[in-house]
Amino acid sequence: MRMRRRGNPFNFNQTNDNSFLSPNMEDYMENIALLLKENDVVRVKDIAKKLNIKMPSVTAALQKLKEKGLVDYEKYGHVQLTSKGKEIADTIYEKHSFLTEFFKNILSMDQKSAEDQACKLEHHLSNDASIRMQRFVEFYKQEQHDGQTWINRLDSAMEEMPLSLIKEGQQAEIVRILGSGPLKKRLLEMGFRKGETIHVIKYAPLKDPIEISIKDFLLSIRVEEANYIIVKPL
């Protein structure tokens, strides 16, 4: 889990319901809880390593959290969470898990970007929003389990992406052409129809334009134009 250091750890987040912790502090709590799950004892060193932060900064943060009564910590000793601290850490972690699930399973993002987005969002969701979202994730899972067809439609819609995101050598099927005007007209008359297969042959040395083949002929298309072609990777 990659956590980012915020610029100012004392800048409390106003939109958060348990707003007495800054995103930065929440990251500390969450990671201490995670480390405690994996190890018997947690030292400043471990936290510093996990968050990629210098030890004195960690010590300072722990001091802050101790003042709030969330951690037990003596100099050079082990770090423990108080029961209040444990409760908060769990809530944060829970948010993190279902957000990751939302991005990964429902929005079809890959594991890494899903976690990344979850890490960013978890500190900013209000309690109400997070409860509703959690409910949605549960509902989705239930529907999926029941084999509802809309799930498939949603999944396939989520797989769609602009042509510009297809990698060299990949093939994709046209779903639709966005926009209007000369570009769309030109694409239509060149045979960019729904269901047609596009083969991304190569990117120019400067990454723009792209060489593609469709219907047995080769075309050069700019990245900004490829954004208007929505495809499904094959």
Binding site: R186, L188, L218, S220, E225
Partner: protein
């Protein structure tokens, strides 16, 4: 016997081999003009067959008949208004599906079409077997297989034209079916339109109205119920998009493609062949991440070298030929004004026209080779990212590079840009690419005033030119050429070996169009400028100074003779003094003589404007005469300073730096910059006028002078503080 004539229009997608087929049909009997009112080329050729004269009009390459681009509109107008007897639809047999899309539109516009199924050999290599009879039946039009490059099927195509002409009007009408909902809509509109005898096919109008085509809307304005029709078409459009849950253009084009694939299923068999795709193999080298660019630069280097370095030899040959003829005439015609006019004015003028010919021939040999092989599109593919950042097109790159050699062929080379806006922009910034004719000026001034940093200064001038080109491109893009840019979607045609015939015809085409369209203007202007620089004849000034010179000579002679014996040293000093005085008188004489002519008067008149740039009067006059060509700047300086003609300009250089003439390093720098930026030359201005219109040429003149003044002024004053 009166020959009957048949007019046919040749139409097809880009890269379908249309030009080759056109050449095969007509041979060298072609004439090139522009379409009325636009600078898009109109090419016509003739062919005689079975007692008929077939006039073939080559239409611009197009993917469809919409009204988005000038080219498509021209084609559409030609079909509707000129009503040719037939449209030859050139179709790439290896790419039938896409090529036939245009055919569906030709069916809709109710043009009498004959299909030339071109490059049938390539299709066969791809494993395609095309049943031409079936195709002909399904599309209800004659289909003739051809191979333009090998002259195959050309006779049959001509036969088919004559046959169809004689059977006329036997062509059956077919329609592209659009299904109930749309057919009903079409019928509704058609009924409204047909109430009033429209000039154009009513089904075509109806379909185009449903598609929201602005040109079709314009075309029905003459009908009394135009408003009602347009209103109905809007509501139909909305209703249909709701029915299909998609916009109507997509639906219609989908149905046309449906019609085509249905036909192809019946008429085409494809057997899998083991394909060793040469095109993709070449592309993997030519577009390679690491060697793509080096390869492009090598290609350009070769092209540049051939055009401008190798081109020098025939150029020198032409120059000495012109010289020889001049001498010949000088001997035949007795001396005097007539001899002057013929030898210097006319022969000199002709010389200044044909001197560009070698460059143009070689450059277009190269460009035509690059275009026909398919490499041109690849070069655009490689460069597009950079060029697009400047608001240009990938294809602008080559003409810009060629500008460093000579702007005239470079501006002509912008024809490979299909889009008008891109072309205007590329033409307008081309003069900032400092051409080789400007180099002598830089060498003279940089060598004289910055002897230790001459190379650096010259490099700086070139860089400044490129910088100004980019700035101007940005500026034009955001002001006068603002507007929706056309899509870049560009076909990368398969690599093909071009035929010698096509390349030669293309090359000859450019050269002859240069001679016919620009030659006359350049010649006329050269003579005008020659007259301006020769007249009125300052004979009295000449006589006055000749007398003065004679008098000085006598005086010094006497003085030298008297002191010669007693004091040879003093005599020598006197002799030197005499030479100086003589030189002074000569310079004065020439200056006054030139001042007396029209061009001298113009130079004197504009001089106050140039004074703030630190230029002296001589510089002002040189710039005026430099309008003809940049080489003239140096030769005018030579005349004005009475410099002896030596190859290295050493004599002139010595005089320029003489403080009495008031040229400082700062003003020399400003002068070089001014020469780089202001009007390139008469021939370039003519080329601009011919390629994109006289108004743009005038704009270019004003813009260049304006920028030249501003930039030189800035550099002069900054340099004065530093140097």
């Amino acid at each position: 016997m009166t020959k009957k004539s048949i007019t046919v229009g040749l139409i097809g997608n880009p890269n379908c081999g249309k030009t080759t087929l056109f050449n095969a049909l007509t041979g060298a009997r072609q004439k090139v003009a522009n379409w009325a009112g636009v600078t898009v080329e109109r090419r016509e050729g003739f062919s005689h067959h079975k007692g008929y004269t077939i006039k073939v009009v080559d239409l611009p390459g197009a993917y469809s008949l919409t009204s988005f681009s000038m080219e498509e509109l021209i084609t559409r107008q030609f079909i509707l208004n000129d009503k040719p007897d037939f449209i030859i639809n050139v179709v790439d047999a290896g790419n039938l599906e896409r090529n036939l899309y245009l055919t569906t539109q030709l069916i809709e516009i109710e043009a009498p079409v004959i299909i030339a199924l071109n490059m049938i050999d390539e299709a066969y290599d791809k494993g395609l077997t095309i049943n031409t009879e079936k195709l002909s039946e399904l599309f209800s039009m004659p289909v003739v297989p051809t191979v333009g490059t090998k002259n195959i099927g050309i006779q049959q195509l001509k036969d088919s034209i004559v046959d169809s002409y004689e059977k006329h009007p036997l062509q059956r009408k077919i329609v592209i079916p659009y299904g109930n909902d749309i057919e009903q809509a079409i019928q509704t509109l058609q009924n409204l339109i047909e109430n009033h005898k429209p000039e154009y096919p009513s089904r075509w109008l109806a379909i185009n109205l449903i598609e929201g085509d602005s040109d079709a809307e314009k075309k029905i304005q003459s009908l009394p119920n135009a408003d009602a029709i347009v209103k109905t078409s809007y509501s139909i459009r909305n209703k249909l998009s709701q029915t299909f849950n998609d916009d109507i253009e997509t639906v219609l084009s989908d149905m046309r493609y449906g019609f085509i694939s249905g036909a192809l299923k019946e008429a085409v068999r494809k057997k899998p062949v083991k394909r060793h795709d040469i095109t993709q193999k070449i592309d993997s080298i030519v577009l390679n991440r690491y060697i793509g660019f080096p390869l492009l630069f090598i290609m350009l280097f070769i092209l540049f070298h051939l055009t401008f370095i190798l081109g020098q030899y025939p150029q020198q040959l032409i120059e000495s030929g012109v010289q020889w003829i001049s001498n010949l005439f000088a001997n035949i015609i007795p001396g005097g004004q007539l001899q002057n006019l013929i030898v210097q004015g006319i022969i000199g003028g002709v010389g200044s026209v044909i001197v560009f010919l070698p460059n143009i021939l070689i450059l277009f040999l190269g460009i035509s080779f690059m275009e026909d092989t398919g490499y041109m599109a690849r070069s655009a593919f490689l460069m597009d990212k950079i060029m697009h950042g400047l608001g240009l097109h990938g294809k602008s790159f080559i003409p810009l590079v060629m500008g460093f050699g000579c702007n005239v062929p470079a501006i002509m080379a912008t024809r490979s840009l299909e889009n008008k806006r891109d072309r205007i922009l590329t033409v307008l910034i081309n003069p900032f690419m400092s051409c080789s004719a400007r180099l002598p000026v830089y060498i003279l001034f940089a060598g004289t005033f910055f002897p230790n940093h001459a190379g650096l200064i010259i490099l700086f001038i070139y860089a400044l030119g490129i910088f100004l080109a980019f700035i101007s491109a940005k500026l034009f893009n955001n002001t006068i050429l603002k507007g929706e840019s056309m899509p870049f979607v560009m076909e990368l045609p398969p690599y093909r070996m071009p035929t010698v015939k096509t390349i030669l015809i293309h090359m000859w085409d450019r050269a002859s169009s240069y001679l016919r369209k620009m030659g006359g203007i350049i010649l006329a202007f050269s003579i005008v400028i020659w007259v301006l620089s020769e007249y009125p004849k300052p004979q009295h000034i000449e006589q006055k100074y000749d007398a003065l010179i004679e008098q000085t000579r006598l005086e010094f002679n006497r003085a030298i003779v008297t002191v010669q014996k007693e004091n040879p040293e003093k005599a020598k000093i006197l002799h030197d003094k005499y030479n100086l005085a003589l030189d002074d008188l000569e310079i004065q004489k020439r200056q006054e003589m030139i001042k007396y002519t029209f061009i001298g008067k113009i130079g004197t008149f504009i001089y106050p404007v140039l004074q703030p740039l630190g230029f002296n009067w001589q510089m002002g006059v040189s710039l005026t005469t430099g309008f003809v060509a940049k080489e003239v700047v140096v030769s005018t300086m030579g005349v004005l300073y009475h410099a002896s003609d030596d190859e290295s300009n050493q004599n002139l250089s010595k005089k320029l730096i003489n403080p009495r003439y008031g040229i400082t390093p700062a003003s020399a720098l400003a002068f070089m910059i001014f020469v780089m930026i202001y009007i390139p030359c008469l021939a370039t201005v003519t080329a601009i006028a011919r390629e994109i219109g006289t108004r743009w040429a005038l704009f270019s003149i004003v813009y260049q002078i304006f920028v030249a003044w501003i930039v030189s002024f800035g550099f002069y004053h900054v340099a004065r503080l530093i140097l």
